[in-house]
């Protein structure tokens, strides 16, 4: 019931988000046809504007766009006029999602074990080495890792292809570039959560009952210790999205992140508002799933 209400609440929220984005970009001076090559005659420009409804009042423009979206049509791109936004999203979104998903998996796959080990071996060399790796991870952003990986692995040693998407090998460098920062964040959260739990009374109780140390760590402690990581899931996805703009630009990956920045600069409002809406849907749904997972994992939380 709780999640049903939350899901219903998304609808007005998405309306507001798209309206704000639409208003901002349509109120800003400069139109989508400013950078056209040939200086169009006033008549041509008028016809262009009429064709894309730019001559109508703003609320009408918004209503036309929204009506299209509800029918699954995001309208034409005003910059790349031979394509419509739906096509561009359909070709770019899977690539962005695959890249983001791989980086997410990389962050969890590296970060959780690293944080777990550094907490269990607190004060030993594993802790020092792991802690150093984790802090290096959060201090070396994608825009530093990416070019440096390209310089060594792509250009100098020629081990990996450095641009575009084709084979799985193409995904190795972008995934590492995007995921490294988040692996560091996850490792630090995991270590903190684990250290907090290992002091808790229910762990002492389990120890005194003679539960094997392995079971204590993996069954009892892990489940509670992983909660900070789970609640970081939402912000992690949002940050992953910003990182993906950089990574897509750096590796010339034809995802949708590149279009978001360029459509905002070009005042390509159908494209921009559609992409903002898309990102909002992805993030809001992901946050809903995070809260759902939290409720399942934490026995103290009852959301139903």
């Amino acid at each position: 019931m709780y999640f049903f209400r939350r899901t219903l609440f998304l609808i007005p929220l998405l309306l507001v988000i798209s309206m704000v984005a639409f208003t901002l970009v349509r109120m800003a001076p400069g139109g989508p046809f400013d950078k056209e090559r040939a200086p169009a005659s006033p008549e041509i420009e008028r016809n262009l504007k009429a064709k894309y409804h730019l001559d109508k009042p703003l609320p009408v423009q918004y209503a036309i766009w929204l009506g299209g979206v509800l029918r699954g049509d995001f309208g034409p791109s005003l910059k790349y006029r031979s394509h419509n936004v739906t096509d561009i999203i359909a070709s770019g979104l899977p690539i962005t999602l695959v890249l983001g998903g791989l980086a997410f998996a990389f962050a969890l796959g590296v970060g959780i074990p690293l944080g777990f080990i550094t907490a269990v071996k607190k004060g030993h060399w594993e802790d020092h080495v792991g802690g150093t790796l984790a802090i290096l991870g959060i201090c070396i952003p994608a825009l530093v890792v990416g070019p440096i990986l390209v310089m060594f692995f792509g250009v100098r040693w020629k081990l990996f292809p450095v641009a575009l998407i084709g084979t799985p090998m193409h995904l190795v460098l972008p995934t590492v570039t995007l995921g490294l920062f988040f692996a560091g964040r996850v490792a630090r959260l995991m270590r903190e959560g684990m250290l907090g739990v290992l002091d808790a009374e229910f762990i002492t109780a389990a120890r005194s009952k003679g539960v094997p140390e392995r079971d204590i760590l993996l069954r009892h402690a892990f489940r509670t210790a992983v909660l900070p990581v789970v609640s970081y899931g939402g912000p992690l996805l949002a940050d992953l999205m910003i990182g993906s703009f950089v990574v897509e630009q750096l590796f010339r990956i034809p995802g949708i992140g590149v279009f978001l920045v360029s459509s905002s600069l070009n005042r390509d409002y159908t494209m921009l508002v559609s992409l903002v809406l898309l990102y909002a849907v992805v993030l809001l749904v992901a946050n809903l799933l995070v809260d759902f997972a939290y409720g399942l994992l934490d026995p103290r939380v009852k959301l139903a």
Partner: protein, 319 residues
């Protein structure tokens, strides 16, 4: 750690400071940050305002165009030169200064909004609290950085339409960058402050103050907020590197600091363009990258050190 008589009489703050100075990485980070601040403050005076003059052996004006583009590091240009023959070392110093200013101002903006929001929500409680925190939850799940991008890309046009003189447009864009980055970074601060205030407002010293006739504003400002100072400072030190990171991302995408000004993000972006199979001008990438990573490491070490030092648990375990 043996608890002797004097250690017990020290105030908690004094003990926290001692723990901080015993943390080797935190001390290292503090020294590095002080040196960095000294460098970025002193450099403009050494380099002077004259773009053409070269006052020192290796000190140059960040915008001075030289005759040798892509000079290798060494000699008069310790870190080499860029595509226009500008000295890379002086550009990195200028970029680090901008990154540090953006980080500090953005963090203060996030501090003001976050503390106000969190304190009001936590102190008022009830429906106001749940409404305000619901807003924070919603903003958490929104792609707020996208709005910063849209705002920054549309701002130029707005300013021109409003007849702002062209001298002021870059400055106002700069301010918008601070405000925008601060405005998307206050959410965690609000949550932390609210949690603290919520637990403090039922404590006995607050009741005592209220019984003596103190008003809400007095209680909040004089009794509750000072008690949250520790955690606010810790979180503030960790917000600075986060905002520097945001700024470098925006500048990397060409949306943040505009040329000829440099920030570490735009320097790295310029440098990564010079990596190609024909020639690798490695210094253009490696030195700005090291400067960014070094700055972030120093700030994070300090933040971690402060957190460990101010942790009440550590106070219980050892002196």
């Amino acid at each position: 750690m043996v608890m002797d008589g004097t250690a017990q009489q020290d105030s908690p703050n004094k003990r926290a400071w001692r723990r901080f100075w015993r943390n080797r990485l935190a001390v290292l980070g503090s020294i590095a940050l002080v040196l960095l601040l000294a460098l970025v403050i002193v450099w403009p005076f050494l380099a002077g305002s004259d773009v053409t003059a070269s006052p020192g052996d290796f000190i140059h004006h960040p915008d001075a165009h030289g005759e040798t583009p892509f000079a290798e590091p060494g000699g008069a240009h310790l870190f080499g030169t860029d595509i226009h023959g500008r000295d890379l070392l002086s550009r990195i110093v200028a970029g680090t200064r901008i990154s540090l200013i953006v980080g500090a101002v953005g963090a203060i903006v996030s501090l003001v909004i976050g503390v106000f929001w969190g304190a009001v929500a936590g102190y008022t409680g009830g429906r106001t609290d749940s409404l305000m925190m619901r807003v924070v939850d919603i903003l958490y799940s929104l792609p707020s950085i996208i709005f910063v991008i849209v705002l920054i890309t549309t701002l130029h046009g707005f300013l021109e339409r409003w007849g702002v003189s062209s001298d002021w447009i870059p400055r106002l864009k700069f301010i918008a960058l601070f405000a925008g980055l601060g405005a998307v970074s206050w959410l965690t601060m609000a949550r932390i402050v609210r949690g603290q205030v919520l637990s403090l407002r039922t404590r006995q010293f607050v009741e005592a103050s209220r019984a003596l006739g103190a008003g809400d504003a007095h209680i909040l400002l004089r009794h509750i907020l000072p008690n949250t100072a520790g955690i606010i400072i810790v979180y503030l030190t960790l917000t600075v590197p986060a905002i520097i990171l945001y700024e470098s991302f925006l500048s990397y995408l060409g949306l943040g600091i505009q040329p000829p000004q440099a920030s570490l993000g735009s320097l790295i972006a310029d440098g990564s363009l010079q990596i190609n199979p024909i020639r690798i001008y490695w210094w253009l990438l490696v030195f700005p990258a090291l400067a960014l990573v070094g700055t972030l490491l120093a700030l994070n070490f300090i933040g971690d050190g402060l957190r460990d030092a101010l942790d009440p648990k550590a106070d219980r375990n050892a002196g």
